[in-house]
Amino acid sequence: MTDMVLLGDEAVALGAVHAGLTAAYAYPGTPSTEILEYLVRYEKAHGAPKAAWCTNEKTAYEAALGVSFAGRRTMTSMKHVGLNVAADPFMNSAIVSINGGLVVVVADDPGMHSSQNEQDTRYYADFARIVCLEPANQQEAYEMTREAFDLSERFHIPVLIRIVTRLAHSRAVVRVRDARPQQPVRKASEPSSWILLPANARKQWHDLLARQPTFLEWSEASPFNHLRLNEDRRDLGVITTGIGRNYYLENLDELGFQPSHLHIGAYPAPVELVRRLVGHVGRVLVLEEGYPFVERMLRGIVSPDLEILGKESGHVPPDGELTPDIVRRSLGLKARKGLDAPDITLPNRPPQLCVGCPHADSFDAIKLALAGFATPVVTSDIGCYTLGALPPYSAVESCVCMGASVGMAKGASDAGLRPAVALIGDSTFLHSGVTPLMDAVAADTDMTLIILDNETTAMTGGQPTILPPTRIEKLVLGLGVAPAHCHVITAHHRHTEANREIMRKEIEHTGLSVIIAVRECIETLKSKKKA
């Protein structure tokens, strides 16, 4: 056994390596990025296992499925909204008969530190009717990931690990154990289970449903679910899940007694343990990060006389992260107070583009090119350039999901807004912008797509874009964009006037045009120079 200091993300990555991982795939997304980053570094240093960035979460998931089909252990990691992109293979992978262990790690972002929403991935695990593990600390992140591969092979399902920002990006000592070797290639013995034609799929689905009691039985007995009844006190029971337990323990000393406590780290939630707890107490407080997942389940299975305190009752805020202070309040403890702030308003300091960022020069040119139009619309997407929504640029008007800028500009144009301009980064374009561009090509939509090509996935720390800039022009032309209306320009303030002119001309052109504004992110440039 060795002690290592690891981020929650890194503990997951190392747990997978030590479980005999053969290959891992991902698309970067905060707070999940450091999982694959760790594995990429690990592969460089040790030659294995394989770790690769992919075009998007769906392609990553599908590559992982191929590894599992071949009988070897595989992992795909993503942020919560990434699972929406991979939802198609995810939902279907629940009913193929998983061969080599397949672990899906999804990092949720309660509090929306770097995300568009707060969705709770435990619902996806429930939706797919599979098993889900939720670590509460770095050690559990390591242990549960190891265990998840075994479970996946034992139950022939993908196993989902749900972590949250606060665990993903927090460091602590982790005690690691011996690694097991990779498995040999062993093709799925029952390929029909992987052919989801309706006749097979019905059988597989039926089979998955039939195994639900097995999953539940496992979860009732799992050491990750832990019930402690206090025989002397019957007034309050507490249910924690994931890192909710940490905040509970933080306050426990001051409570003066130990309420009966059920911690849930494995799902399906252990119904019997829940029944035993609620049968013992008159009130239950549920502390879980994300949605009221367990709380809602509780409202379905216990007597209406039981008082349930949680997000739905207003005892815990329905949004944002849990904190020790929120949990304190929900336990009825007196609020703590720190030093009083002096009487002065502190301005906010939002994130912003780096000084010299190529996107800033593109925004300048775009604003000039749009001058004088009465109803222009500029849709945007997800990346550093989303910061163009804030002053001093205030240059874009939307940010919804990966690739949406292209589709939304098409819709806005169809609806009659002129001119319609869509902005998207190179990495996001390849992730989810190519397909809506095909729709625009097919219709020769009157819109201008500006691909802001900084040659990297900058916002998550500079992972390589899956195709180099030279290939993006070829791709765009290959989709059928008219060569006369496809331009590659340099995103630099020296060229602002020339760029404005090209943009203006294409914005005035009736029909589809694409402009690729290329200049490398100064951050990746800097780190290359240092290396």
């Binding site: 200091v5 602590a172 905040y247 002065i344 502190l346 300091r349 994130p351 912003q352 910061l387």
Partner: protein, 190 residues
């Protein structure tokens, strides 16, 4: 023993290196450590907050509760005031006086410094000047580790050891600059 530290600054000021050095030193001395940090978009030139918790018993929460931090260690003045509600009433505020002005409404500097001086246990250090004297303005964050070192529950030698380790890959000269920055920060706050 329990020592909670709020580390504050702006993305790019090296808050995470500060956190890493203190955390590694504490661990070396047998303390339990939890360190929660900021990644991704929120780091890009925005306000950065790291929670660092040291204790001689296992630590449950990654986040520091209100009113319980023993120290706020800030790379610049405005950010040192943002998290006061986390500081215990007898906690220390240690900050560099050099403002990071990347917003249009940055408050008047003298007024800000006045507010900080009025706090019960404040220490202001001209981090940039000392770092320059040591060889590089980029070492301001190590000046601040030095300034904080009087209060931290870890030995000076251990901190110096980890400064060496963290910068070793960048060459002897960078190591020396950062050690010098650390020492001058320590002296300035003595």
């Amino acid at each position: 023993m329990k020592y909670d530290i709020i580390l504050a600054g702006v993305g790019g000021q090296g808050v995470l290196s500060v956190s890493a050095i203190i955390a590694s030193s504490a661990m070396k001395e047998g303390l339990f450590v939890k360190q929660s940090e900021v990644h991704g978009m929120s780091q890009r030139g925005g306000a950065v907050l790291a929670n660092l918790r040291l204790a001689d018993a296992p630590i449950a929460s990654d986040l520091i509760p209100l009113g319980s931090a023993s120290m706020i260690l800030s790379m610049e003045p405005l950010e040192s005031l943002r998290y006061l509600k986390y500081l215990s009433t007898d906690g220390a505020v240690i900050t560099s006086t050099n403002p990071m002005v990347n917003i249009p409404d940055y408050p008047d500097l003298e007024e800000l410094l006045g507010h900080i001086r009025a706090l019960p246990h404040a220490r202001l250090v001209d981090g940039e000047k000392l770092a320059r004297a040591a060889g590089s303005a980029r070492a301001t964050n190590m000046v601040m580790v030095g300034a904080a070192s009087h209060h931290l529950p870890v030995k000076v030698e251990t901190l110096e050891h980890y400064i060496q380790t963290v910068f070793a890959a960048k060459g002897e000269k960078i190591v020396e600059t950062n050690l010098e920055a650390f020492r001058s920060g320590r002296e300035a706050a003595a």
